[in-house]
């Protein structure tokens, strides 16, 4: 069994409107998956629902993380069990520095891993760790003492998302439109970050509208997502076909399923 398994997953809005309409997907450690879909296909809803956003209701199906159904868990528990979501629009937390936020988040995860007992990261270890990761991801030093995402440019926000991913060491990372709003240099840095981290300890699920990011993060599996469903799956050549033919080519497939 893969580390993350979605089984016939259905997700609806609070008013009952169905958005995700039966998704089966397996993402394992050491794998890179891409979900590609047009605007409004429900792919961001899928990302939020996987992370446990309270506005989305899972009406049917299961999300198994390391074999355990996490559907009833809050976002905090899911994170503690190794799930991570890099946000398309990360929120600003004024007054809380990046450093202090990272330390709190790392300690929250460590506490969970330590059976609920505090196990704070030693100050020196934290410092070494964060400086090395910032260096690797080319996050400017001064960002560490600024308030989280407060007044950050789009590129800075995305880099800090990847920095969080690197420091929290999740098992499965979901990246929601991480490529949007990035210039080519920033895109390369972010992609390299993901490439570095995917391995025996982590798998990634990259959600994107465009094929562009997949030039830098070469996916093992590509899934085409239209109207709340995966309508086609394949290797990286599927992304290239999509780029050449557009999503229209896959619409009939939807109708065929419907």
């Amino acid at each position: 069994m893969a580390f993350l398994e979605l089984k016939n997953l259905h997700v609806a809005l609070e008013d009952g409107t169905p958005i995700v309409k039966g998704v089966d997907l397996s993402v394992d450690l050491n794998e890179k998956h891409a979900i590609m879909g047009p605007n409004g296909s429900g792919k961001s809803t899928l990302a939020y629902a996987l992370m446990g956003h309270p506005s989305y209701e899972i009406t049917e199906g299961e999300i198994l993380l390391d074999g355990e159904n996490i559907v009833e868990m809050g976002a905090d528990e899911r994170a503690q069990k190794g799930l991570f979501l890099a946000f398309q629009y990360p929120h600003a937390i004024p007054g809380v520095t990046v450093t202090s936020f990272l330390r709190s988040a790392i300690n929250a995860i460590r506490k969970a891993k330590n059976g609920g007992q505090d196990d704070p990261i030693p100050v020196k270890e934290f410092r070494t760790h964060i400086l090395a990761a910032m260096e690797r991801l080319k996050v400017p030093r001064e960002l560490a003492s600024r308030y989280l995402n407060d007044g950050f440019s789009g590129g800075e926000k995305k880099r800090v998302e990847i920095l969080q991913m690197a420091l929290l060491e999740p098992k499965i990372a979901i990246l929601d439109e991480t490529d949007s709003g990035l210039d080519i240099d920033a895109l390369k840095i972010v992609a390299n970050g993901v490439n570095d981290l995917v391995g025996p300890e982590m798998g990634a699920l990259v959600i994107t509208h465009y094929q562009r990011i997949l030039n830098y993060i070469t996916p093992d599996h590509v899934h085409v997502f239209v109207d709340g469903r995966i309508v086609a799956s394949g290797g990286k050549e599927l992304a290239e076909r999509l780029e050449a033919e557009g999503y229209e080519a896959f619409i009939p497939a939807v109708e065929a399923v419907a």
Partner: protein, 474 residues
């Protein structure tokens, strides 16, 4: 503020007011305890007991007349609930003041130990005064500061040993008939701090006073006078707590401060009274040429607080700041704010107020900014931000502005916000629990104020906010 403090606040949640313990308030344990109620006999007894000079005795009686003549304020909070006849106006816990903690009676020393005051004195304070009920029971100043001529005494001792200075200044910044509660304090005052910092002396470490109410239905009326001479500097910090009782206590202080040319005074309050204390305090400072006055005011406790620290900028280029945090939880009303009067040219001021309300609490900002005619070139910025944590809670803003001068630069900003579901989700998606995430957002909200505090107090303030946050979520 160092990044440690946020780490502090996300750990160790406790679910009750931590300072609610009490010692026996059995009258036999006290050296002297007045009867309940307020009248000229009580005022006379206090003056007599303290063997005060005749002018002070008259000052007290006159003040009681003013108190009786004035109606209760009908604005702010509900002060009509106060039963003035049920209050003890004067309790002297020990016969004389101690210079060593060990000389205090065991139960009183135990209280200070629980509050961590002797420990704090060793680590980061230049001097400490500890008031228990009506009297300062412990007082000490570092020897090198004494040698430089710094005076840090309790107010009663100051009246005995420096009568001329006290007589010269007391009631000059806050007249005895300024308002009903200033009149009350002037009639029955006891304890409080007297500080004089000689010209050019800069006191690096803070001086701290700690106020503890122990008895039920206690009235505490300390009186503080601070004089910062030319080019001098002092940071004075006060903290306060009380046991939880089912009936009310009253705390009504008066604080007068004079900052002479080029001097600087910072006055920090961490108010954490239990939720049965009415906290009605008048604080006012005057700042002369090139002087700086800063009020840093944290209000977390009490049933009702009405307090608006004021600064009169009397000399050219004087600068004033009022930074305040008001946190109102269940059954609490914090009517806090600040006042600045620009009475000289090229004076500058900043008022920055942060209020948080939760569980039906009510927190507000009430402020006055005034620019007198002739105070040209005055600049002021007023920022008040409110954070409301649930639907039952309330926030009010009353920003009064009076300007009689054309050449001024004024800025005013006010925001009201709620903790957003999206912010919470973002933090929780990183592994923080809902309570931890909320506490982090609140600590970030007040950070512009807490970063102004010395580390120990920033940590304490965040810890108190954490305690206040407990029970509000999840």
């Amino acid at each position: 503020m160092s990044s440690n403090s946020e780490t502090e606040i996300v750990k160790g949640i406790r679910d009750e007011y931590a300072y609610g313990f009490s010692n026996s308030d059995d009258a036999e344990n006290y050296f002297f305890k007045s009867g309940r109620g307020l009248n000229h006999e009580i005022v006379e007894a206090i003056a007599e007991h303290k063997k005060e000079p005749d002018w002070m005795r008259k000052f007290r009686h006159k003040s009681l007349d003013y108190f009786n003549a004035r109606p209760l304020p009908t604005w702010g909070g509900n002060v009509a609930e106060i039963d003035f006849e049920n209050i003890f106006y004067y309790i002297k816990p020990t016969e004389k003041q101690a210079k060593n903690w060990e000389d205090l009676p065991a139960d009183i020393l135990d209280t200070w130990d629980k509050l961590g005051i002797p420990e704090a004195e060793k680590k980061y304070l230049a001097g400490v005064g500890a008031q228990y009920e009506s009297e300062v029971v412990y007082h000490k100043l570092q020897a090198d500061l004494e040698a430089k001529g710094v005076l840090f005494l309790d107010m009663d001792t100051a009246l005995r040993e420096h009568e001329d200075v006290v007589k010269q200044y007391i009631g000059t910044i806050i007249p005895q008939n300024d308002n009903k509660f200033a009149a009350l304090n002037s009639a029955v005052w006891s304890g409080g701090s007297f500080i004089y910092v000689p010209p050019g002396v800069k006191i690096e470490l803070p001086l701290q006073a700690y106020f503890r109410i122990n008895a039920e239905n206690m009235g505490q009326f300390e009186r503080t006078l601070i004089i910062v001479d030319e080019d001098a500097y002092v940071h004075y910090v006060e903290g306060c707590t009380a046991p939880i009782y089912s009936s009310d206590s009253l705390h009504s202080a008066v604080v007068e401060i004079i900052v002479k040319p080029r001097g600087r005074c910072r006055y920090t309050t961490i108010q954490n009274w239990s939720n049965n204390v009415f906290n009605l305090v008048t604080k006012r400072a005057v700042a002369y040429e090139d002087a700086t006055m800063e009020w840093v005011d944290g209000n977390l406790g009490s049933k009702l607080t009405m307090k608006y620290p004021a600064i009169w900028l009397m000399g050219e280029r004087a600068h004033g700041e009022v930074l305040s945090i008001a946190f109102a939880g269940k059954g609490q009303h914090q009517d806090a704010g600040g006042k600045v009067v620009h009475a000289a040219p090229n004076t500058t001021s900043v008022i920055n107020s942060k209020s948080i309300s939760k569980d039906g609490g009510r927190a507000g900002y009430r402020g006055l900014l005034e620019v007198a005619k002739g105070a040209h070139g005055a600049k002021s910025k007023v920022v008040c931000d409110a954070l409301i944590l649930d639907e039952e809670s309330r926030s009010d803003t009353y920003p009064y502005i009076r300007v009689d001068e054309n050449d001024v630069e004024l800025g005013h900003e006010a925001t009201v916000s709620k903790i957003g579901e999206e912010q919470l989700f973002y933090l929780m998606s990183r592994g923080l629990t809902e309570a931890e995430a909320s506490a982090m957002i609140v600590s970030g909200f007040v950070e512009p104020i807490t970063k102004e505090l010395p580390l120990e107090y920033a940590v304490e303030m965040n810890r108190l906010i954490q305690l206040q946050m407990e029970g509000s979520v999840g």
